[in-house]
Amino acid sequence: MAGVQLAEVGKAYGAVTVIERLSLAIPAGEFVVFLGPSGCGKSTLLRMIAGLETVDSGAIHIGDRRVDTLPPGKRGVAMVFQHYALYPHLSVRENMAFGLRNLRVPADEIASRIASAVASLEIEGLLERKPGQLSGGQRQRIAIARAIVKQPELFLLDEPLSNLDAALRVRTRLELAQLHRRLGTTMIFVTHDQVEAMTLADRIVVLNAGGIEQVGTPMEIYLRPRTQFVATFVGAPRINLLPVEVKAGATGNALARLGDGTIIGTEVPFAALPSGGAMLGLRAETVCVTAGDEATTHGTAEIVERLGERTLVHTLLSDGARLVAEDAGVSAVRPGDRIGLAIDAAAAHLFDAAGIGHHREAR
């Protein structure tokens, strides 16, 4: 089990920079998720750590060994691929033994490692089958088993859940979390799905266009997004963003004025805000549908999405701006209704013209 250090790592394809001088330290035993949209470089970064892509500048250390000059087989790394990459004509047992044989691990050691991986992933009975005879979920487990038997210092997982159906995805997610608890090995998991990131990660690295937007625990990322990009990428439904005018309030906190005239008294210190325009960020759960007079503002409900445990109400404000508000699971709101919205101003975020997020003082 070892940590990973990326120091000023960069990569370019010709004139196009794919990864920009990126530095990151991952402590041993952590479950880190690289999260970002397609093309942000998260898979490239993972593959650079694995040795499947070359590193143009900078250095990568696994533990205290410098690895960016070593071939993939010598880095002590195991990878689970998006499409499993199982060897089609070898049996499951052969698939798992292949890497160990190349490392000249003795046969009885191989057998015992396979036995324990099989037990922990519950794949008894599949050992003699070929990958073509297995279902997608089974193949995924075999891919994970193949990685486990190598007893690596680092696990790399490249969008391993994207090819599974929804129910299987949830189940496998839980098993991966349990696996990490059991083995304690450092894991780097790449995904574009923020739910996977939020539920599995000890820390999330949010990537965009080859650079790091933010590194933090899931709750940090959610509650204190460093940039507008992070705020919009994490959280469903997407965070509401409304253009506002800000000025200082009596307490030194920023007062934000919505297009329809409503003043939101945020707890964001005004002094920290650069001049220029700003966007107000409100998560849907901080904008509640209310009947009474605690309503901060009013709007017309356009679309009502009933999810069961809550209801999302897409609302049109008087100035034409739209936001998504939340109501209880059982909601009487119907499209076309005029509704009151209670906005929790304390939870509001402000994003300046450069997209940097400003939040209330941390408690």
Binding site: K74, F81, A85
Partner: protein, 271 residues
Amino acid sequence: MTRSRLAIALVGLAAMLMLVPLLWVLALSLKANSELMADTASVFNGRFTLDNYRNLFGNGAVFRWISNSLIVSFGMTAGVLILASLAGYGFARLEFRGREMLFVIVLLGLAVPEQAVIIARHQMFSWLGMHNSYPALILPGLSAPFGVFLMTQYFRAIPKDIDEAALLDGASRFTIFWRLLLPLTIPAQATLGIFTFLHAWNDYWWPLISATNKEMFTLTVGIASTQMNFAQTEGLGFLMAQAVFAGAPMLIVYLFFQKYIVQAVAGAAGR
């Protein structure tokens, strides 16, 4: 509709016409030579014999020809499969200087017809004193770019993540080739193998000028050699038996491996 029925009937008729020459030869082969010499129309008189075939087995030449053809065809097939698989893997999966350019040059070789190289090849083997040998019959065929083209395409189609998983498993490039990827190319090997075998077996011009010694004749050349004299020959039936004997192996192989042969020939043309 009658129009399509008519078309089908025409096609059926054409198919029968396709078979007629073969049936004619077969019939002739089953007639005694003496009868045919007197009057060829005696084919229709219903008296058949297996004498010609018996004589064939007694006359060693055809068997010599067949064994030469077998050696050359299997030899060329094995050689092509090995060289083309190695090269196909190299071009499809490995990085090395000049790879793109070399591949283009190989592809350009597809455009070169036999006539442009055969005279020089003959000279080369003459200088080396290597005519009338199996290597001389096998080596030129190994240079055909089609095999490399086919295998490269096939290797390219295999998902790269298998290679990557194997690299992470510490496998060498050769191990990846030999244990993991090559087994996945069996359909392409079958197609290429059968195509090469067929091509080697039926090759005419090169064996004609290189294997001039009767002992080295391939079956194709041997049949040609007997054709030259048959105006004088009294063995028309015997000659026909030879023709049947020569054509039958390929027809039988065809019937068994039809799928592969058709695929291979169509693929070669499509290059």
